[in-house]
């Protein structure tokens, strides 16, 4: 008994010790939740970006509520892009039906890599680098692992997660689940720890080593939203400039738009999206456009191509096969295919990041019914890419290779709204790929050649482009506008743009002569007469800011796992549904990418400002006031701004190893209040949340503010809400009645406009929206455009007297905020940030047209994408024609479909490893409990009987009775 007691004590001591040890680890690395009750949160995270811990009230750890922390470093901004558990089955759009049919397949055979294998190409003599979680030394699937290096602070080269092994397997596995290029030289770079931590500085050093080792193909199944991480972005450019073909995953943040991840969104990188085996774009695959160019410009087309990324089989951590989903999986499929393709080329010097990308996108198969911001150029076609690459001549090409603004759905959103005279110019951002050299330039200027028989003279075109095309690529932005003479014309206009790209001579060519390549870009647009003012809405993009680089917090505070507002806040990214809705209601939406001083208010019925974070120039405030007096209406969807809450949602960013304090709230209310002050209106610093019903519509108010001040003669609607500010700050629940959330006001002067304020923007935003309020926007637009006060609102029982502003605080700008660092309006001055001088409005110089008496083919897509490519010249063995697309399951393989060890797809073996000590501990506890019961029993018995009981037992120990065998 004494012994038992000692053991018990020992156990308790050990437990305490272990707990302390755990605490120490936590403090050091922020890897674990600070309370045992929350630990399940961290387990679920997997490769998701952050964890902002916001424990539900049930979880007994109040002290951690609302405290935000980065789960681990790289994961937020640059996470590995495989999906955690649960996503693996959600591949198609009708996932529940297709679940059973989506059997994981041998991806290399499905893409017909075996045709190239039979021709003797297996990736030999190609150096391929895998930047991931490492690979164990004697993995049975790999025969040519040239080198493994570790760049993390963990002293191991082995993969503890399975991610790196899987990725390497898709590229180069030679047995079971075969990869594309089994003979390729594998260089394994371990840049992620087993806790999925990684830093930019590790990447920088590892990338330098990859350059030194003259890597040919580099796979990065990682990504993050921070395209303003200059050291990283510059380094990726440096790699491509050194002839490393970079292949990267586009991100797992779909189906939301504006969710592209860096580095896959870079022009010089091959960005890969995911599809399932039935050619549906995978739900998780991130959608375009790029948001680098906002607010003045327009995003590029990305991803570049898509390929299988759902339920793909690859190597398991210790051998065997498993299926995983994610763009993390799609990326090595392309990297493997690229490796195999490089090994097929005889003249290796022709292979470079640009020519490879040109071959891939020119050969890709377009998926029907999917737009270019989802599929890029389409689905990878390995054999056609092989044919193109093997008849390739160095040249320049464009992505997209034509501009047909009438083609739906591929050219969405361009095809969703025709252009008209007086509208904001439509901008198309074309990427120039230059296979002739790492650096190049555009000779003279691009030329605009309208087709006279096809009314090409009804449009004007302006260009802006990279002065130097480096590395291997550049941009050509084309702004298209309607000429005055076509102001009331309706029809299709066509023409083309010619550009000539020049690069310094390569070793082969005649001495000194520059290489040049001329590319034709056909253009086709639909023109309509300008719609009436009341139908035209102007979207204010200029005053929307987003991460990166500043910390602009999410508009809905309940969305803890995604604390940043990073999707661009554009009508074609996270306000896409709203845009589609407005189009379907017959409104025309244009985007203002410059200050308010740069638009003609007489053209527009309503200026729509949603979730604005930027400040305003004094000139803008004055101009807007004049515009509203002259009949422009204003709809403002605001959001929260409370300095105490902002301080509360600060977090320690393990990536940058510093504290992050938000620079605004959900919206910049102090700035908005300055803008609104002339009308005697203001928003409050309140923070409210709750469900409600308005005009028989179910609504949800997600972290919005209230109206603090509104003119006497306006209409104000109030609701009853929870005070979320109190909940965030003090974990108390309080209900507030008569919170003014919606205000409608008519400027009393003759011909004056109307102003509408609403305190929450979340119901228009696609990210984390729970209930939309498009019906409300319709009603408000009826009011602003036509002066019709919706009866549902004006006669609502929730109508109250407008608040006078007394008693309710309006927020002040948070002291010490760094908004001026990211603002286009403010600049740092000695006495605090002040507005800059008002910038000049963008001025487009229209290209001089050189009319042609030509007509264009009706289908622009089919025109040649690359010059001097003769596909028939490169012959494939004839067994290609009638072989089945998908190889049937061979009998010996059947077991291999299953994931070894009974682990669910998308989960990692590590989890199981962690549960073993738990089971051991539980077992020990059960035994212990038994002993305690025994001891208690023994105590309750008379002492003298004890020896008699004990002895026979001991005897039996020595001579255990035989048990009948069955």
């Amino acid at each position: 008994m004494k012994l038992v007691n000692i053991w018990l004590l020992l156990l308790v001591v050990l437990l305490c010790g272990k707990k302390h040890l755990g605490d120490r680890l936590e403090k050091r690395s922020f890897e674990k939740a600070p309370c045992p009750g929350c630990s399940h949160l961290t387990l679920k995270v997997e490769f998701s970006s952050t964890v902002v811990e916001y424990a539900d009230p049930v979880v007994p750890c109040n002290e951690t509520r609302w405290s935000q922390k980065w789960q681990s470093s790289r994961p937020l901004r640059r996470a590995s892009l495989s999906l955690g558990s649960g996503f693996w089955h959600a591949t198609g759009r009708h996932s529940s039906r297709r679940l059973l049919r989506a059997i994981p397949r041998q991806v290399a055979q499905t893409l017909q890599a075996d045709v190239l294998w039979q021709m003797g190409y297996t990736g030999a003599n190609v150096r391929v680098a895998v930047f991931d979680t490492g690979l164990s030394e004697k993995h049975p699937h790999f025969k040519n692992v040239k080198e493994r290096t570790n760049w993390t602070n963990e002293r191991t080269l082995d993969d503890g997660l399975g991610h790196g092994t899987f990725v390497a397997g898709v590229i180069a596995s030679m047995r079971e689940c075969q990869g594309f290029a089994p003979d390729a030289e594998l260089h394994i770079f371990r840049v992620f720890t087993n806790n999925q931590v990684s830093y930019t500085s590790w990447f920088l050093d590892a990338f330098n080593y990859a350059i030194l080792k003259k890597i040919d193909v580099l796979n990065l199944s990682i990504g993050g939203p921070d395209f303003m991480d200059h050291p990283f972005v510059d380094k990726v450019w440096e790699l491509t400039a050194n002839n490393v073909i970079m292949v990267s995953a586009i991100g797992n943040d779909g189906p939301l738009y504006g969710t592209l991840n860096n580095p896959a969104d870079q022009m010089d990188v091959i960005g890969v999206g995911g599809i399932d085996f039935e050619d549906n774009i995978a739900r998780f695959s991130s959608r375009g456009m790029t948001t680098w160019e906002l607010p003045g410009g327009y995003g590029r087309v990305k991803p570049d191509i898509v390929t299988y990324g759902a339920g793909v089989r690859g190597s398991g951590m210790k051998g065997g096969c498993r299926a995983l989903s994610g763009t993390s999986v799609a990326s090595p499929v392309v990297a493997g295919a690229v490796t195999l393709l490089v090994s097929t080329v005889q003249k290796r010097e022709l292979v470079n990041p640009a020519s490879m990308k040109q071959a891939l996108i020119a050969s890709a198969r377009r998926l029907p019914g999917v737009n270019m911001f989802e599929q890029g150029h389409g689905k990878l076609d390995l054999l056609r890419a092989y044919q193109i690459l093997n008849s390739y001549k160095p040249q320049a090409s464009l992505s997209p290779s034509y501009i047909d603004l009438t083609e739906c759905p591929y050219m969405w959103p361009y095809c969703s709204q025709p252009i008209y005279y007086g509208g904001m110019p439509t901008i198309v951002n074309v990427t120039i790929l230059n296979g002739m050299g790492v650096t190049g330039r555009i000779v003279d200027k691009p030329e605009w050649q309208p087709y006279l028989p096809q009314n090409g003279d009804n449009i004007e075109v302006a260009f802006s482009y990279s002065s130097v095309l480096w590395p291997w690529s550049g941009y050509l932005a084309i702004s298209i506008s309607v000429t005055k003479k076509a102001a009331s014309w309706e029809g299709i206009a066509q023409g083309h743009v010619m550009i000539t790209v020049a690069s310094p001579a390569e070793a082969e060519s005649k001495n000194g002569a520059e290489q040049t390549s001329t590319v034709k870009l056909p253009i086709k647009v639909k023109i309509i007469p300008a719609p009436p003012r009341s139908k035209r809405i102007l979207w204010d993009q200029y005053h929307n800011l987003r991460y990166p680089p500043g910390y602009f917090p999410r508009d809905n505070l309940r969305m803890k796992n995604d604390p940043l507002d990073w999707n661009g806040d554009h009508i074609h990214t996270n306000f896409r549904d709203m845009y589609q809705h407005l189009r379907s209601m017959g409104y025309f939406v244009e985007v203002l990418g410059s200050p308010f001083t740069c638009f003609d208010a007489n053209q527009y019925g309503t200026l729509l400002m949603v979730d604005s974070e930027e400040e305003y120039f004094p000139e803008e405030v004055a101009k807007l006031r004049r515009d509203v007096d002259n009949g422009l209406s204003l709809i403002i969807f605001s959001d929260w701004y409370n300095t105490s809450v902002m301080r509360k949602v600060k977090f320690y960013d393990e990536n940058t190893r510093q504290w992050w304090m938000p620079d605004t709230g959900g919206a910049n209310i102090p700035a908005l209040n300055e803008l609104l002050s002339v009308w005697n209106m203001a928003f409050s610093d309140g923070l409210y949340e709750g469900d409600f019903t308005l005009a028989s519509h179910d609504m949800y108010y997600a972290s919005g503010c209230s109206i603090a001040k509104f003119p006497e003669d306006g209409v104000v609607i109030t609701q009853t809400f929870k005070d979320q500010g109190l909940e965030v700050l003090k974990q108390e629940t309080a209900v507030v009645e008569n919170v003014p959330i919606l205000g409608l006001y008519q400027i009393p002067a003759e011909g004056g406009g109307r102003i509408v304020l609403y305190g929450d923007s979340n119901c228009l935003d696609d990210s984390h929206r729970q209930k939309d309020c498009f019906w409300l926007l319709d009603a408000l637009l009826q009011y602003t455009s036509y002066g019709v006060t919706p009866p549902s609102l004006s006669h609502s029982g929730h109508r109250q007297r407008p608040p006078s502003g007394a008693g309710l605080a309006t927020p002040e700008r948070m002291e010490g905020n760094h908004l001026h660092r990211y603002s286009k309006v403010l600049e740092a001055r000695l006495g605090g940030p002040e507005p800059r001088a008002l910038p000049a409005c963008p001025h487009l110089s229209w290209a001089k047209p050189q009319p042609l008496n030509e007509t264009a083919p009706s289908n622009l897509w089919k025109h040649q994408k690359l010059l001097s490519i003769d596909l028939d010249k490169v012959v494939l063995p004839n067994f290609r024609s009638n072989r089945p697309q998908v190889r049937p399951l061979s009998p010996g393989e059947s077991g291999a479909w299953d994931i070894p060890g009974g682990i669910m797809p998308g989960r990692y073996n590590q989890e199981v490893g962690q549960t073993i000590p738990v089971f051991a501990f539980l077992g020990a506890m059960v035994v212990l409990a038994f002993f305690v019961v025994q001891i208690n029993k023994a105590k309750s018995r008379p002492k003298r009987r004890k020896p008699r009981v004990k002895r026979p037992q001991l005897m039996q120990q020595v001579h255990p009775p035989k048990t009948p065998s069955v």
Partner: protein
């Protein structure tokens, strides 16, 4: 079966020694795994602090004197440049002045050898090509040797694979973990390419 299970339970599992055995095994497993973890944790924590001062890395860089040792009249060069390029003889030229053999055209007046334009006294330059060219000065050899003997552990992989002066300069001038603060910003956004020993000066935010 139920009988059997009951029998086993009664006869075997209720024996204290069996239970003690199970308990003991669990405890041993528990202890070992705990200690193993602790050991690893300690090692991890130390990893960042300990620097192997005693073990200089075994570098194999050959500093060739003069250019007579080059096998042919072909040049390696810095490949990546947007406007400029540096060849292995230390000449910097514009890309258009690069000859077919990979060397800079020395007859062009703008071509300079061992050019340190835009380089600061701390050994950091604003252009990568100038950094490489400057680093290729024979007088920089001593500095580089000293750097190699003290190179941080993180750079071992890189500098152990470098084979000669030119490769060393190419690798040394690149931006690296030494060039950043807060991971996502350059310490000095202008002079960020360093051939010297010290990282770039911290640029005031």
């Amino acid at each position: 079966m139920v009988n059997l299970a009951a029998m086993v339970w009664r006869r075997l599992l209720r024996k204290r020694w069996v239970l003690a055995l199970v308990f003991g095994l669990s405890l041993v497993y528990f202890l070992t795994s705990t200690f193993k973890q602790e050991e690893r944790a300690v090692r991890d924590r130390n990893l960042l602090q300990v620097q192997d001062h005693d073990q200089p890395i075994l570098w194999k860089v050959q500093f060739n004197l003069g250019n007579s040792s080059r096998p042919s009249n072909q040049c390696r060069n810095s490949i990546q440049g947007k406007l400029l390029i540096t060849d292995e003889l230390g000449y910097v030229c514009e890309r258009k002045d690069l000859l077919v053999n990979g060397c800079c055209d020395v007859s062009v007046p703008s071509t300079k050898q061992h050019c340190c334009d835009g380089c600061l006294s701390n050994g950091c330059c604003s252009a990568y090509e100038h950094c490489v060219s400057c680093c290729l000065q024979p007088s920089k050899q001593l500095l580089l040797e000293r750097f190699l003997s003290r190179a941080a552990v993180a750079f071992q992989n890189l500098f152990m694979a470098v084979e000669d002066h030119f490769e060393l300069c190419l690798a040394k001038c690149r931006t690296s973990s030494q060039s950043v603060q807060h991971e996502n910003t350059y310490r000095d956004p202008v002079a960020k390419y360093c051939y010297g020993e010290s990282p770039p000066e911290l640029f005031p935010a």
